[in-house]
Assembly symmetry: C2
Homo-oligomer: 325 residues x 2
Amino acid sequence: MKTGEDRLVQKITRALAGNGGTSLVLGAGDDAALLKPRAGYQTILTCDWFLEGSHFLRDKHPPDSIGWKCLARAISDVAAMGGQPQYFLLSLALPQSHTSQWLDGFLKGLARAARRFDCRLAGGDTTRNREILINVTVTGEAPAGRAVLRSGAKPRDLIFVSGRLGEAELGLRSLRNGRVTNQRNRRWLKKHLYPVPRVALGRWLAGNRLPTAMMDLSDGLSTDLSRLCSASRVGARIAIDKIPRVNLPGGKGRGHYDVTELALHGGDDYELLFTTRPRQAGRVPSAFQGLPLTCIGEITGRTELIAIGPGGREGRLAAGGWDPF
Amino acid sequence: MKTGEDRLVQKITRALAGNGGTSLVLGAGDDAALLKPRAGYQTILTCDWFLEGSHFLRDKHPPDSIGWKCLARAISDVAAMGGQPQYFLLSLALPQSHTSQWLDGFLKGLARAARRFDCRLAGGDTTRNREILINVTVTGEAPAGRAVLRSGAKPRDLIFVSGRLGEAELGLRSLRNGRVTNQRNRRWLKKHLYPVPRVALGRWLAGNRLPTAMMDLSDGLSTDLSRLCSASRVGARIAIDKIPRVNLPGGKGRGHYDVTELALHGGDDYELLFTTRPRQAGRVPSAFQGLPLTCIGEITGRTELIAIGPGGREGRLAAGGWDPF
């Protein structure tokens, strides 16, 4: 008596089967999921598009990368609040041609990310479509009052970023140009295909009450820093040469890659951007579990973004990252 | 410093501005929403696609109907569990050409549904796309242990439906054929364009502990009853002539409309399908707030769906509703 859609849902739930978690009363297979929130915790809720043509290319991106990344990037929003991811809903629209082999690869990558970040399938919606459409909703939890918002930055706070910026953008370019020739290329490509949301770092920072504001870097530093400043009604001054960037021989990039441009405007890094009170800055380690944490500037009271160039020259920093509109 | 996407998000949040609700700590504009669950309640979580071409037609469906319906149908899943809707996330992908007048109409319908069902915007994601893509996540709450699942039906339970089935399907056909000529047509069309999820009925039934299983009718009675039976590992016998259907002169439908087929397989009604223990059936009123509640058959121990025809003839009922695959 099962419909084609029912069989597809069964395939998805089997591929992602696992311990339901102590706070899941009811998962995929009913009208909705039913969660039992923990006393003393708040629920974090976010969703993310992942669309063919905009966010990935059907003929360039391996299906398991699409599965991994659609969940990883939604989890990154939970990490950005210092929360622990818990459950996800998967909305999937597929061409009939992609419901067997492609779907297997997709579900493999998705299941791997779900295990890695301890985030469990709780439901979703499937339908047929000419193009591959994905939307992922993720829930997480944080102790009440401990989630870190974008809006808490104050003048004189110091600005930090995790990791090295621009690597994922370089990985995307390598993929587009078919230039995956050496180990360095592969590192960037991996960062583009299988980004690692900074859940442990976000929780550690929030747990130690270090950040006054925090967000993840998904659309590029220049765009996202402007959003953090806008939410906090402040400005920022950053030193260009302090921004941790791709390490390329010659510094300026081989051929046409400008690593500074990549670090300022490249998207998809999923690193954390956060601010701390100046007197707390000493408590921020130079690295967390091997991931560098770098101070790149400070928050100001004037609502503008200033970048200090190599020779000490100051200029306005315009949002130059990813903007679909 | 705002990007095009930021301006679009601002337009959406302004159109849907309202009281944030006592349990919303943080809504649209940060990495994620932050909710404060009520002690003693469980969280209901669901999401729904609403896609151009599959669920609506750009040139046939008014934008305010698309706005109303994308939220109403997701809320219907919360109603189906006997819950109260609370917050929603809006994922919207639009062509640039649809970011002004069309979007205004869409947001008007969406805001109207949000007010009507007391469900507030908590966040979302926007991007650009050639086709209009919508995905809505809705959260709701129900007192712990009171949400009604699909899986609780037992043999001899009686099967009820609310409303009249097939009306929305008839409305869709009127819209497609451009036949919106009289008041009756308009009634069906309204049911197709602006469906009303049965939130009050679902809560009343769950509050009175009447249903053993419940779900909403979105893909057609034959398909959805088969899902309820499958989840409960039971079967059903329904009497065709008891199914409340479209009231057409002549009974069999004018022209080529077969109202029985419409009632059995027509989708998008968003009525409730529920089962009760036989001794509780007397407590189900014949109407709830003017909405008829009709007993159409009973649950059986054999995992098959039997339909009893007008002359007492029995036959297997096959799932003939909406199936995208």
